[in-house]
Every structure is written in C-alpha cells, then in structure tokens.
Symmetry: C2
C-alpha cells in the first residue's frame, strides 16, 4: 500500500492521524531549520513539514535533496498548520513527516508544472506527459470524462444502445479523404478508417436496434486547419421511427441535461431558426446569439440616392453596434482596415453614428439625409449612442464579411462570455450546394440525407432550392452537432446518387449494400452526431480543443511526442504488398 490518503483529502478532521502519502514534489521552501514541501497528486496538494527539532536527522537531511517533480512517499502525522491557507481544501493542515522514501528522482522538467507555464506549445507537446500534470490540462481531461459519462448515462436511460461499429471499413471517395490501411491477407486491397459510422448506424436501424449511440473516433485525412485533428471523437446517434421533431427533442434534452449537470445552468427551450433566416440575419449558419447585432437589409433605403457603390450592389446590409457611437475616427479606420484585410475581403465600409440627440453623422452624409439614416437605424435596431456599420456587394460574400465583423466586434466588446450558453437549432438546410469550381452540386450534409418531400419536384429544375430535413445544433457560434432524416428507400437513394453525379455502377460498388438493405424493410430513421472535442471545449469555456485531447497531433498530423508517423521496414512493406513511391 503506497498511500493511505491522496493529496487532496486531508483536513482539520484528520489532525493527529498517522498517514502515508505519495506524490510529486511541487516545490520546497528550505528555511534552514524548517523545510516545507508541497506534495502534489491528481487530487490536490498537501503541505509536508520537515522540522530540525521534530524530524529525524536523516529524514531532515534527505528532504533537502528533493528536487521539483521527484516522486516521493512519506509517513507522518497530520498536524494543524500555523499559517492556514483558505484557498485549498487541505489548507488547514500539514504533515509532520517521520519517514521519507524517494520513489523516483526527476530531471528538472523543461517547463514549469504550474497553471501558467513558461513552456511554449511545441515543447509542451513533446513532453505532453509533463503538460498533463498541469491543472489546466489535467482538469480538461477529467472534465471530458465527466461529460462523456453524462452523455452515456442520459442516452442509456432513454434506451439508446451503444454499439461499436468497425474501424476497418471500405474507402468511399465521396466526402473527405480517407485514411487507408493496406491488407496483408487480401493482396492489393485496402481498408479505410471511418470518417463516421454513418452507413453502419443506418444499417443498425435497418437491423431494428431502434436507438443507437456511440462515442467513437472518426478519421479524416484533410489538410489541418488550426484546431482540427486527423482523428476526432463524435457522439454518434441514430433513431428509427422518428421525425425531425423527435430527434430535436431528444438531443435538445441531452444538451439541456449537460448544461444543468455539468455547468449548473438551466436553459429555456432552444430557439429554432431556418438556414435562410440564419444567413439573412447573421450571415452565418452557426450564429452566436449570446448577443444581438442582427443584420438589417438596407437596399430599400440605400439604393434610392446617387451613391453608386450601394446602387450597384446586390445587397446593402448593416449592423448596429451597441455603444460604439463614440468610436474615434482612428478606431473606425482601424475597423475599415480590418474588414478590408484579405481574410475578410470587403472593399470598404460605410458607417453612421447615432448621436445621443437622435441625429446621425455618417460617412455618406453627402448622399443620405437624416430621414434615410433614421430608416437605417430603425431597420438595424440602432439606438442613440450606437454605431451602424454597412457593407455592400454580392449577397453571399457581403453577408460573410459582415458576419466576420459582427463576431470581431462582439469579441472586442466582451459580448462572447464563455460562461454564458446560448444554444439553438438551425433547420431546413439546403440539400445540395453548388461547387463553384466544378459547377456540380454536392450533398451539403451527406448523400443519405432526405430531401423535404414537398421540395422533391424542384430536384430537376432548381436543385439549389431543395431543402433537406437536416439540422444543426449551434452553441455560442459553433456547430456542435448536426444531422438529418435519412433516405430509407432504394428508389430515392438511387435518385440522389444520380443527382450527385454517381454512375449506377459507382453507386452500386460503393453503397450497394446500403441500397440492398433498404429493400428488406428499412424503417424511417434519422440521427445526428455531436463533435465531442468541440462540445467539451465549449462547455469548458475554452476556444481551442487541444487541451481537451490527451495526445493531440500538430498541424502536420504529427505526434511529436512519440515521433509518428515514421518509416517502417521493408519486410513490413513487402508483407503488405506495397512499395513506397515518392515522386
């Protein structure tokens, strides 16, 4: 038995108890005749005291040799501390040590094991096992566990069955790039790692499992943008005999449960807005609704004068920024530069200050009178003291630009409070989106998503207008989950593959098993998937997912700690019937 207690649980009620503790030396303060050591483990910190007058001489001297991160075991008596620390649960006591056993020495760590460390990202990743000792990372991993447990309990209590689907499956060129795995036993053939268990969960519905979930790793071999990982975790769910409403209710319930159990926050019924409304109102299909600044479309009140920039624009659209009426000329110019950066791409920006006396002062006073500007204020909801910013141009691009500005201003104004949670559903996504490069339509969600029956007749004529029974859950400006009602009959699925440009042979080769399955009594079904990494980070009040992943990869897909990927030897390659072919 290495310890009788952990380092987080002793308090005044344990005074005079003989205890054995084990852990890491967080720090030691040597005052000559007295030596205090902070002993740390996952559960907390307990202060040890070595006292020249009360501690055995050998032990006292040995304690002086302890360095940071040494692993030690001590026996001693719990005593009352003279200088109490009210900030930690063990702050009323300390351990007068009688025996000290160094279990393992430690080199000086390459960065400090403190909440605020001096180590940069790269060194922390290389020594991730040391980084995990730090509270921010350790607590993130414990938090993730707690969220995953709550998800499992909630869904299991609702009769969802967690089913493990296979990791060694078949490559399907549709969608993102697959990671593949050469088969030794099947020459020249490859498995693929799943981008999601999509087809398997649908087959489970055909198989009558009724309610499925799985917390499961998924894999996408994509060029990694910041904060993306080649392997990531989904809460994957599917239900049979349901309509969209049933699914929204179940997973709204789950999310509400998590917010309550994990964060102690009660939220109302989630707002539901359509994709079209989201795009018009926030320029974005994952709007952050913790704050307002909703878009006001100004074409009617901006295209009747001689301002050519607006008159030739497809869309003139503005937002009212609360309390920004007192921005200086320099601040405004800074924002204009910000929207003109290539990442945003606006060609300019018009502004109108809403003075406290109800008058307006704009950058386009030459073209617009107070009545016009009053209309702008009315439409954008601007109040005295606010500032209206207006962008114009092609509708989609302009909306995206104004959305970027809206988010940036909210951040600057402190309106994106990580302790506040504003979930919503975005529904009625388009079924298809136009790929501007190829001129072809792609499935916006995936090729198994059901079109709305009432829009089916538009498939031939106006495919871009067909809406899907597809929905996203959005939390604080992040899509945390999305799903759809699926196609469950072979004819519609075949039609969909046709519209997506599959030949009959391709469709059959890749998804024949699914279409076959639909012929043997497939129930109506649908589902969704949450991104667990993102969900946990947001619930944890963080912007980046990396600290919520024990061993993340860097932007080149490398694990710098174990140095993977790596070369493999020729015998392995030969067994796998492949050769390396570097161009």
């Amino acid at each position: 038995m290495y310890r009788s207690h952990n380092c987080g649980e002793l308090n005044a009620s344990n005074i005079n108890t003989e205890v054995t503790l084990a852990g890491w030396v967080q720090k030691s303060r040597d005052k000559g005749f007295m030596n205090w050591v902070d002993l740390r483990d996952r559960y907390g910190i307990t202060q040890l005291i070595f006292d020249e007058s009360r501690t055995d001489k050998t032990v006292f001297e040995l304690a002086k040799t302890l360095g940071r991160e040494f692993v030690i075991q001590v026996k001693g008596t719990v005593i009352e501390r003279e200088a109490k620390n009210k900030n930690i649960p063990t702050g009323e006591i300390e351990i007068l040590v009688s025996e000290l056993n160094i279990l393992n020495a430690a080199l000086t760590p390459p960065f400090t094991i403190e909440d605020e460390t001096d180590g940069g990202e790269d060194i922390r990743m290389k020594y991730r096992y040391l980084d995990i000792r730090r509270n921010p990372v350790k607590n993130s991993l414990l938090f993730r566990h707690k969220v995953a447990m709550e998800v499992r309990k909630y869904l299991s209590d609702l009769d969802f069955c967690e089913v493990e689907t296979p990791y060694l499956i078949k490559s399907t060129p549709e969608g993102a790039r697959d990671f593949v795995v050469p088969s030794r036993m099947n020459e020249g053939q490859f498995y693929a790692l799943p981008q999601s268990p999509q087809t398997f969960k649908q087959l489970l519905m055909v198989g009558g499992m009724d309610k499925y979930f799985q917390i499961v790793k998924c894999f996408r071999d994509e060029d990694l943008r910041a904060d993306r990982q080649p392997e990531f975790t989904q809460i994957d769910c599917e239900m049979a005999f349901v309509e969209q409403e049933d699914i929204l209710n179940v997973f709204e319930g789950l999310t509400r449960h998590l917010l309550k159990e994990i964060k102690g926050i009660e939220v109302d019924k989630f707002p539901r807005i359509t994709y079209d409304y989201a795009m018009k109102t926030y320029g974005n299909d994952k709007p952050d609704i913790r704050f307002g600044m909703e878009f006001g479309e100004l074409n009617e009140f901006a295209q009747h004068k001689d301002f050519p920039v607006f008159n030739t624009a497809e869309l003139v659209v503005g937002i009212a920024v609360p309390g920004a009426g007192n921005y200086t000329r320099k601040e405004i110019d800074g924002l204009i530069d910000w929207v003109k950066r290539p990442q945003v791409g606006a060609s300019g920006m018009v502004y109108a200050k809403c003075n406290d006396d109800g008058t307006f002062k704009s950058s386009v006073d030459k073209f617009y009178d107070q009545d016009d500007l009053g209309q702008w204020a009315k439409i954008t909801g601007a109040k005295p003291g606010d500032m209206i910013f207006v962008l114009s141009g092609p509708a989609n691009k302009t909306r995206a630009q104004l959305s970027a500005l809206r988010m940036e201003l909210a951040t600057r104004l402190g309106l994106r409070n990580p302790a506040e949670f504003a979930p919503l559903w975005v529904v009625d996504f388009p079924l298809l989106e136009l790929d501007e490069d190829s001129g072809r339509y792609h499935a916006m969600h995936h090729p198994f998503t059901s079109p709305k029956p009432e829009d089916m007749q538009l498939l031939e004529t106006e495919p871009g207008k067909v809406r899907a029974n597809a929905y996203d859950m959005v939390l604080n400006g992040n899509e945390i989950g999305g799903g759809s009602i699926r196609i469950h009959d072979k004819a519609t699925q075949q039609l969909m593959f046709k519209y997506l440009g599959f030949t009959e042979e391709e469709a059959k080769a890749q998804f024949g098993f699914l279409m076959d399955a639909f012929q043997f009594g497939a129930p109506p079904h649908g589902g969704l998937a949450f991104g667990l990494d993102r969900l946990v980070a947001i619930l944890g009040g963080q912007e980046t997912i990396r600290d919520f992943i024990a061993f993340p990869k860097n932007n080149s897909g490398r694990d710098v700690m174990i140095d993977a990927p790596a070369t493999i030897d020729d015998a392995q390659l030969k067994e796998l019937h492949i050769k390396v072919a570097i161009q």
Copy 2:
C-alpha cells in the same frame, strides 16, 4: 410521431386505449374473415387483429398484402385477447386495427428472422443487418452495452478517468504485426494502429492521471484463428502508486460487481494460484475450476516397475474422471484415439478403473499391483466408480495433452455449465519465455513488465526462472484479463530491452519517449486489460464472441457485408506515396 408505444409495453392495463404502433411484420395468419399479424420491434411483439366485421374493408384488404418484414404503422384500440399468451408481456392484449400504413415493403429475407434461423453463417454475415433483427444477436448487443455501462460506472465511481488515447500511432515491430496507415502529409511515413494503448497509459501515469481506464478498440494483423478478430475491444486500465495486491483487489471488485449486477450471482473472494501451480495442477495457465479432475503426478508410484513407457518419461501424470468407471472398452478406445489425434498428440493412454468394491482394473495390470493403483487413486483423488487416465512423456507436452483431455471430458460430462462462474487469479507468471525456434527469450507479457525484485539476480544466469509481477484473471477456462506491475525507471527498462535483444539504438528509436518520460518523475504503476468481446460472451453464457460484435469480420479479415477490404484508385495511392506491389 410514428408511434405512441413500442411493441413490448402494452398489457391489460392499456385495454381500450387508442394507440399507434410501428414495426416489422413478424408473421401473419390469414383465416379469411380474420387476420392476425405479429408486429415486432426491438422491444417485443404485439399482436394485431384485422377482422372482416370490425375492420374497415380497405384496411382489411390491405392487411392481406403484408409480407414478412414489411415495415408498417398502425392505429387501433387495445382489446383483450381471447386466447391469451402467458409467455410474452403483451400476451393478454391485441390491437384491433383501424388504420394501416405501409412504411416500407420488404423482399423476402434470405433467411428466417427467428431465434433459430435457417440461415448459415455466411449468409447471415452478408446480411448482418437482418441477422441483428434476430433476438439472439440483438440481445447480445444489448447485453454488451449493459456490461460496458456497468464497467464505466464502477470504475468512474472509483475515480478512474476514461482517457481517449490516439489511434494513429507509431509501428513497433515487437509483438504482433501492426496494421499501418500511410501518411499523405509525411511522405514515405506510416502511422500504425495500436495493438493496445500500453505506452500511452503508462505516460498518463507519468502525467499524474492516477487512475485511467478506457474501453478501446485494438488492432492486430494476425492470421485469424477461429473466433479471433483483427479489431477487438479492451477494457484497458492503469493505476499509479499501487502494488499488485491493489490492482487485484480493484479488478476483482469490478468482476464481482459485474457478476452480481448482470448475472445476479455472488461469488466469494477469487482463488489466487501461481502460474507454476496452475501448470502442475491443470496443465494450463487458464484453468477451468468449475470442476475438479486436478492432475496427480505419479512418477513416484509409476516408475518403480518394469513398464518402460513410464520409466523413460519425464512426467507421468493422471486425472480421476468422476463416475467414468463404467466406461465401456469402446468408449475408452475412443478416448485413446482422441488423445492420439495430431491436435492433442499423445502417443497412448493408460487407464485404471476404480471398482465399487475398492479394487482396480487397469490397462497395465501386468506391471502394477493393487497397492500401486491404490496410490494412483490416492494421488489423483479417485473414488470408487471413477476412472483414472494417465499420460506420460516430456513434462510440458504431457501436461498440455492431459489438460486437453480434462477439458474434453468435462464438456462430455456436462461439467462446463455456462450458468456457473468460477473466476480466479493466476499470478507470478514467468517474465520471459523461450522461443524454441530462435533460441531467444521473449517477454511473456510485454517488455514493460517488472521482474520480481527478488528474482532480478537470475536474469543473467537463469532468465527462464525470473518471475514477473504479472497476473491473469481467468474465468471458466478463459483468460479474460491480464496485466502487470510495470517498470518505472529508465535503468531497468534499458536492461530489459537489452535482455530482449534490442540494440540500444532500436530501443531508443522505438521507446525512447517512454524511457525519457521515466526520467521526469515516473510513479510506480501497473494495470491490466480485459478482453471485452470475450468477457461479454462468457458472461452471456456463450462460447463464441461473434454474436457479441455488431459487424464482425470473417477468418480472412473480410467484412462480407460491405465487401471490405477493396481496391482503391490510383489517385489515392499516388497521394499516399505508395504503389501496390504484388509478388
């Protein structure tokens, strides 16, 4: 809303309720004026009645068109059944149908969706989604979910934290063959899929996570013996600041909890036997102790006469088979043939009947008198009415042969009752085992296992005698879990790699990160892993794991349902910097 109730919940208390149900047509019995349909879903079966005199004519006629496995929705009234079925929860009622909606037609399934199906293994695998509709498979998957939930709850309540370790890691040629994944972003380099999260869980201990678990997929590219899968699931666990005793207690507690919660069975403290004892007593390191037939070593009482077969043997060893004294000559000859089969490999077998009057009749009466045979009986524990079977030869081989016979006889005698559970620990495994082909020693568990400190000095002189702090949990003749106390200092780990034949460079290239980690304050730690597939199958009273895996692969590692692995296209290969090279 597709249904108001599921097909397993309506009973007499619901009579006169209007309900909506949805599900699959299990069967229909058309009596002309009356038509009964069994409607099935995951939760049960509810009988529907269509009655010429009470049902709308259109509905009545439509019902006659329903085939097996059609997916339908019905509305109707719960009424009392005339002929009640006490065997099912819904057996007191039926639904008088007023509306019938065919949600999806179905082709006739290629095998019957019944508990006892007419479908062979191959066809059931090809149409696994139909196989899952059958109770035995469906219930196995639900059972697996229940076991996994209980494991998670139990460990989580003990402060274990589930941490997801990465799937894209580095290939290490030691151990079984890795599946590898070519990296697109890192030319000529490969990830490997983990054979287990071994090094990561040890790093989590170095990182202070203290108690880790994970239910996790693992991968081994091995030639598949019956009932092995290339991807399988482990309950993987690790603890810091523990000795072997702590680990045995925790996971004995978990297993006892599972037996109680899942099976309603209370078991005593698990017996603990050493590897040496297990091999001497059962010829096997995973003994089935639901029954006796323990080995009796007979050298002393078999090598003092003129029977050359025994006199020249390293080991003479027997078992007493309860109640087998009345076996006919034919039965005995059959068993002798059985042990002489190449799979067992004995060269012959001696037997001695224990007559009811206390005398003996043996196949070697020429050499052994009644006193000798009395000693055999005493040592094997044979009683009047039993049969003693004796094998001889090289010790290890003979033990293995007698172990095979013991298991075969237990099966024939009905002593392997799947409803009985006899867990035990086997401890003190050898650290190393001799590979007879190469003449080299391999790690019996893995190269991270700690030798017993008191045996360390034997490493140079008698490596085969060094015992490890390694242990297996055995249940009903199956190893369901195994683990060890790990090495946690760099020097010992280096020494171990040296003894295992690694050069310093190889050790550093493959496990340098782990040895580095040990220098930064590694705590003593150890753990174990359970095979979830096997554990669930045994708890479920089954011999094979396949029905407890939703989508298993066949013995060639193929998923015959989705037809994977498969070829991939040249563009994919090129992006991955590899070529197919079939010899």
